[in-house]
Amino acid sequence: MPTIIRTQGLTKVYGANGTAVHALRGIDFTVAKGEFVALIGPSGSGKSTLMAILGCLDAPTEGTYELDGHPVHGLSGGELARIRNGKIGFVFQSYNLLPKASIVRNVELPMLYAGLSRKERRERALALLEKVGIADKADKLPAALSGGQKQRVAVARALANEPALLLADEPTGALDSRTGAEVLDLFRELHHQGHTLLLVTHDPSIAAQAQRKVEIRDGLIALPTGAA
């Protein structure tokens, strides 16, 4: 299987010498194509930092990171933006939908940055909303939707440019357990369709839904587990 994520010796240091905080202390981590991996760890473990680096939102202090076969460490801001746009789909705990843009425009947004025409964007966005089961809400504002529906919109948006990797950061954290379970069902379905998923959580019961668990503790991978 080709690998989607391969990191070696990733470190991240915040602050200057005297008061430096070592958030990551050397992470070697691999995710194969089509895997559903849960990244688990208590708060302060460094999992958010790792997630930011894997999502190309932040750059590591040292170490190498290859995404979908291409090294991304040391790239410029503009190049990282292009990678986020084309290769990564984000799902956040707080949905992060644009509150004043309609649902369909929220889903269109990544395609706008990819340079698709208005017509292509609209068609594809509607198809994606159909896929996550809320096509009827296309013209509503996010505020008119329930939490579970908002997270479905976020998933549709994450899938917009057919990314190599779906990165979900506590995607059920703001949902009640029933809607949380529905969203997790959606993730499992995406996994079965062949998407590569990396789910970040502090909740072991949610992590248990994944194919493989990786635990982070004090900036290091504590319990690497082979594919289940």
Binding site: G55, L57, N85, F90, A101, Y113, A114, S117, R157, N161
Partner: protein
């Protein structure tokens, strides 16, 4: 995608963003709107006032007149023999002056005044009488309304004929037509051969007619005054007027004339010429001062609007930080964010500017109307107002756009 297609896309996107954030966008456009309106309003009020002032000069007979008047050469003490022998300002000065620049001079007129008793069947008053020569009537903005003007032979011979202003006609001949009636001026019975059109000029509608005194005129041939009322052996006159439309020629002519008349007058400074240089300076500077004042206040309004704009943008930037973070996470580069901020601001500037032009026209109309002067607006005023708004819109959009584009996606996403 072609470049123009991308630009169109960007504009559409900016328009969508504006519609989605209408409150914020209208506040942003308001600064530009008020700035443009005040620049345009200022310019058009300045233009209107200037047009009104120019109308006044034209009605007065224009800025194109150069007057020579006699002046006492001796203030106190005994005049010297030379001074006593001097001839004073007279018709020959007018004739000689007329030969200096015949191609540029459009008219020469002279004036010889008297103050005397004027009697008709119904009125008996002490009045100034204006003895006129040359083309005094058109040069001073008069026009004959009823009857006729003086013929060349009447002017030459000093015939006992008169033309009256409306006030004079109404005073001396309150009933019936004054034409053909006899008016006694001093000891001379003169025939009324015409009346002048009423002269009216109000700077503002509710003000007095500043030409009222011109309707009091009792005009007779200068030679009549000279020969039968207030004359002397040297045929002195009270004023000589040269009409020269070209101000630049007039400046040179004025110097030549000064020398010529002084030579004629045995080197005595017993005459006074209008200060042409001062007139040119005044004409050039008056409008400029107005323009500068209004331009300045307009620019201040735009700067104020711009600062308000930056503040709104910075305040909304806080509201927008997360939005920018989300967009960056979805693949917008800093460049992209910068461009979209700029496009949005420029679109708002363009729209706010247009609305400002409309409001400015309204402003100007109201002010001109309340001042009671006719509204004058020039294309230059519109261009200035819009160009300034565009420039300021661009300048004041730069900082917030740059600030937004420099956000780190991670920090922007976590921003609370």
């Amino acid at each position: 995608m072609t470049t123009s297609g991308a630009f169109r896309e960007r504009l559409l996107e900016a328009w969508t963003e504006i519609r989605e954030n209408l409150g914020r966008a209208s506040l942003q456009a308001l600064g530009v709107l008020l700035g443009v309106a005040s620049v345009l309003g200022g310019f058009s009020i300045s233009d209107s006032q200037r047009q009104r002032a120019e109308q006044l000069y034209v009605r007065l007979g224009g800025l194109d007149k150069l007057n020579i008047q006699p002046k006492a050469a001796v203030r106190d003490g005994q005049p010297t023999a030379l001074q006593q022998a001097n001839l004073g300002l007279r018709d020959e000065d007018a004739a000689d002056g007329g030969t200096l620049r015949p191609e540029a001079i459009q008219g020469v007129s002279s004036q010889k005044n008297a103050r005397t008793r004027v009697v008709s069947a119904t009125a008996d008053q002490d009045r100034p009488v204006t003895g006129i020569g040359g083309d005094y009537i058109p040069a001073n903005g008069y026009a004959v309304e009823a009857g006729r003007g003086f013929s060349a032979s009447e002017l030459e011979a000093g015939a006992p004929v008169t033309i009256l202003g409306t006030e004079a006609a109404a005073t001396f001949f309150p009933t019936g037509s004054p034409l053909g009636q006899i008016l006694r001026i001093g000891e001379v019975p003169v025939t009324v051969i015409g009346t002048f059109q009423e002269r009216v000029f109000r700077f503002r509608e509710d003000q007095n007619n500043i030409f009222r005194w011109r309707n009091r005129i009792i005009a007779v041939p200068a030679n009549l005054v000279q020969r039968r009322m207030n004359g002397d052996a040297y045929r002195r006159v009270d004023r000589i007027t040269f009409r020269i439309p070209d101000l630049k020629v007039m400046a040179g002519f004025s110097k030549q004339l000064q020398g010529l008349v002084k030579a004629n007058h045995r080197l005595q400074d017993d005459f006074r010429l209008d200060d042409v240089q001062a007139r040119i300076r005044r004409q050039n500077s008056q409008g400029d001062v107005y323009d500068l004042v209004f331009l300045l206040s307009g620019v201040l309004a735009l700067v104020g609007g711009g600062i308000v704009n930056v503040n709104i943008q910075m305040a909304s930037l806080k509201e927008r930080v997360r939005e920018v973070g989300v967009k960056m996470a979805l693949g917008a580069s800093g460049r992209e964010i910068f461009k979209s901020f700029m496009t949005e601001a420029l679109l708002l500037t363009a729209l706010g500017g247009l609305a400002g032009l409309v409001l400015g026209v309204g402003f100007s109309w109201i002010i001109a109307h309340s001042l009671g002067i006719p509204l004058a607006m020039t294309p230059a005023a519109f261009l200035w107002a819009y160009a300034l708004a565009a420039a300021f819109g661009f300048l004041f959009a730069l900082y917030p756009a740059w600030k937004a584009s420099r956000l780190s996606p991670m920090e922007a996403l976590r921003y609370e």
